[in-house]
């Protein structure tokens, strides 16, 4: 009887490697030894353009507040919220957040008022106008969000975090009202990709969150994830070569 359970060895080993890489990268980032470039993400560049267009037309910018503040995609949405709120405050563009989560409300308040404060435009910040609470329930919120779109007629709508079956209805309504639609999600990929103008595909959303927040630790874990991906890519390449030349060795190692 061995100490380790067979069939679980390689995945356990990978788990360990991932921990070492990620924590190592975060430590490096803390010391400030990490210089990172992020590849261009078109949807991110589009955010600036979209806010600029909203400023020109004088129409507001609308953002989906995301689901509970514990979800990863909602956390990424918060980083983007900070960014959009700041650029709206700077340009004096009207900005509206439609909040869905009761727990998320205090977090959203903190982020948006903080953004206005950083830009020195706290006098423009009217909480009742900027942050609107709909309903925590999926379709009740969807109908609230659509009402908001119809009454505000935003020039730019951003959605990310906690989107599921109702995402398409929100997207459709926004676009039909003439809004630029940028969204990001880890599910509902096909639907949102098709119906948004720009879409942050799955991991792109997290990368965007890390990039916009400028937090070196988030960037570090992004880089760590990339190293893990490269390890896996190398495994695939090597494994395929081994198999093609008739050796099962690497495959058996991975299946260990």
């Amino acid at each position: 009887m061995s100490i380790l359970v067979s069939g679980r060895i390689f995945s356990g080993f990978f788990l360990l490697i991932s921990a070492i890489i990620i924590l190592g990268m975060i430590e490096l980032a803390k010391k400030g030894d990490l210089k990172l470039h992020l590849r261009r993400i078109p949807a991110l560049d589009a955010i600036d353009e979209a806010v600029a267009r909203a400023t020109e037309t004088g129409k507001p910018v609308l953002q989906h507040g995301g689901s509970a503040p514990s979800a990863a995609d909602t956390i990424a949405n918060y980083s983007i919220m900070n960014y959009i709120a700041r650029s709206c405050a700077r340009r004096g563009t009207p900005y509206v957040v439609a909040a869905r989560s009761i727990q998320g409300m205090p977090v959203i308040r903190e982020i948006v008022s903080g953004a206005y404060e950083t830009e020195g435009k706290l006098e423009d910040y009217d909480e009742d106008r900027v942050i609107r609470f709909g309903s925590p329930e999926q379709f009740a919120f969807a109908s609230f969000f659509m009402d908001t779109i119809r009454s505000e007629k935003p020039a730019f709508t951003f959605m990310a975090g906690g989107l599921s079956g109702e995402a398409l209805t929100l997207c459709e309504t926004a676009v039909l009202e003439g809004s630029i639609m940028i969204s990001g999600a880890t599910g509902q990929l096909a639907v949102l990709f098709a119906s948004s103008d720009y879409f942050l595909i799955a991991e792109e959303l997290f990368a965007a969150g890390a990039y916009l927040s400028g937090d070196p630790r988030q960037m570090a874990s992004l880089a760590g994830e990339d190293y893990l991906k490269m390890i896996l890519l190398a495994l695939i390449a090597l494994g395929t070569i081994f198999r093609t030349f008739g050796s099962q060795w690497l495959l058996n190692v991975v299946k260990m």
Binding site: A19, I22, I75, D147, S221, L228
Partner: protein, 224 residues
């Protein structure tokens, strides 16, 4: 006292302990530290019951929210009399659903609520999306550029594969659709799946080591 209890370190330590214990127990085969060890079973039972005990959170939150709407006689986001109706339905469902007297989840009244209100209406609610699907198909599925054209073509073939009417065009439609589904799309999905799993893995390590405390964010819910 409360200053100590308020510290973020306590919940982070709890997260780390439970997560690491479970992970190690899964891989180890020692008699006192394995998946089948008594301690593991106890911890899991504890966690399961704890999860179930969260059942009232959503309930209380909704109740407080709508009670607040009723008390303040609000017009937005919905006129308050709808909130009153919501509270009424909530009360009725709870009264007939709790295990007392002749009531309970298997009693006639709750069976009625389940089979003639919740089941059909929730299905219909989701099906509303299908109308928007039709509208989206009309609006977005334009071969504006190469990307859109390729996507459109893929969707087209798969739709004809899924609907029996596609077979009238010949067997090749079905074969092509199945090939698209099981070869390029399967590869793409696998790539997405691997990257998504890596993302969760990274997030998990950051939570365990206390570098990601987003889930502990949020403040007390403000009652109205």
């Amino acid at each position: 006292m409360s200053v100590i209890l308020k510290r973020r370190e306590i919940p982070i330590a709890l997260t780390a302990f439970f997560a690491l214990y479970m992970m190690i127990a899964y891989h180890s085969n020692l008699p006192w530290l394995s998946e089948k060890a008594q301690l593991t079973v106890d911890i899991q039972t504890f966690a399961q019951i704890l999860n179930v005990m969260a059942l009232g959170l959503g309930y209380i939150a909704i109740m407080r929210l709508h009670a607040g709407y009723v008390i303040r006689r609000v017009k937005h986001p919905q006129p308050w009399h709808w909130s009153l109706w919501l509270l009424f339905v909530l009360a009725i469902t709870t009264i007939v659903g709790l295990p007392w007297g002749n009531f309970g989840v298997r009693s006639e009244p709750l069976q009625f609520i389940f089979s003639s209100i919740l089941l059909p209406m929730r299905g219909a609610m989701y099906a509303v999306v299908s109308f928007y699907m039709a509208s989206a198909a009309y609006r977005v599925f334009l071969a504006r550029n190469k990307e859109a054209a390729v996507m459109l073509a893929g969707t087209f073939v798969v739709m004809l594969t899924n609907a029996p009417v596609g077979e009238l065009l010949g067997a090749w439609v079905g074969n092509l659709g199945t090939w698209l589904l099981t070869t390029p799309s399967m590869g793409g999905m696998r790539g997405i799946r691997i990257c998504g799993a890596l993302g969760t893995l990274i997030l998990a390590w950051r939570m365990i080591t206390g570098r990601e405390t987003g889930y502990l964010r949020g403040a007390a819910e403000e009652g109205d």
